[in-house]
Amino acid sequence: MARNAALKHSTHKKREASGAASAAEPQSAKANHPAHSLDRLIHERMRLGIISALAANESLTFNDLKNLMHTTDGNLSVHARKLEDGGYIACTKSFEGRLPKTEYKLTANGKRALENYVSHMETLIKQVRSR
């Protein structure tokens, strides 16, 4: 059962990765359409929110992000981990007195990804308006 769960997890990860890959390397002419080259890693609402919040701050703690996104510890850590694995955010863990402190920062890759995403959205809007 545990194996099944691990397999499911790895398949899910592969799907994520393939999503990101398709964003980087469009495989067909159809993929040239902005809607098909979206960065799926940050297209998800929660992850888009995390990236946007970090873009407006030098760094934010886990609790700051949790309060800002109105989410649970589990949900935030899952999405933050995906962004960390994708190299979009960096996480540092330290202790403040006896309390553990997790701090997140946007990496250069993450900043670029957000900029690309915003320009994708703008292109989509422009395309419709120019029709």
Binding site: A35, R45, L48, G49, S52, A53, L54, A55, A56, N57, E58, S59, L60, T61, N63, D64, N67, L68, L114, V118, H120, M121, E122, L124, I125, Q127, V128, R129
Partner: protein, 203 residues
């Protein structure tokens, strides 16, 4: 024999791609705006306000009520200027307009308790109950900081709670301690929380 008819619900059209794109852009903008509230309050500004508050409490101590009031009102004006200048500097550094969503929210939340404090101070002054004014100021300032701090980092409402606790203590303590409470609140709390905000939330 009955026959089965398939009832198909009229399907709502999925939102157009460009509508979703606009929605996403708005979401990014709103999230960034909400997150900017985390840095809108300047810690260094609060520290400077705390230092002037501490100085004012020592200058105003043991003066006649009119002089005491004039000195504190002058300090309030100085504090307002420091707060405006330091928040503007921080907003420029993070490239956020000061009077955007979060800035407006903080200003609107902080103003009503301060206005209530000004009106009540006038009423107390006219009725000769001036001893209650320091406690009232601390209490209502704390209320304003808590409501304004709802849009900011959690440390700000905690500072507000500190002011409210000091205000309540001042109202029930002998009038001779009022200046000490003013020094602890407008001086001490501003300095302590100013340093915390400056160190943790980028200046």
């Amino acid at each position: 024999m009955g026959s089965i008819h398939l009832v198909t619900q009229p399907q709502e059209e999925p939102p157009a791609l460009h509508t979703r794109a606009m929605d996403n852009l708005q979401y990014i903008r709103e999230t960034m705006e909400r997150a900017t509230a985390f840095t809108a309050i300047s810690g260094w500004g609060l520290l400077a306000i705390g230092i002037t508050g501490l100085m004012t409490s020592f200058i105003a101590a043991h003066k006649s009520f009119k002089s005491w009031l004039a000195i504190w009102l002058a300090d309030a004006l100085v504090a307002l200027l420091i707060a405006g200048w330091s928040m503007d500097r921080k907003a420029r550094a993070t490239q956020t307009p000061l009077l955007s969503g979060p800035g407006r929210k903080v200003a609107f939340s902080l103003s009503p308790p301060l206005l209530a404090g000004a009106i009540l101070s006038l009423v107390l002054y006219r009725s000769g109950s001036t001893n209650a004014i320091p406690g009232l100021w601390l209490l209502l300032y704390g209320t304003g900081v808590i409501t304004g701090g709802m849009f900011s980092v959690s440390v700000v409402p905690i500072m507000g709670l500190g002011f409210m606790a000091l205000g309540a203590a001042t109202l029930f303590a002998p009038a001779a301690f009022a200046d000490w409470f003013m020094a602890a609140g407008f001086g001490g709390l501003h300095i302590i929380f100013g340093v915390i905000i400056a160190r943790r939330y980028g200046g």
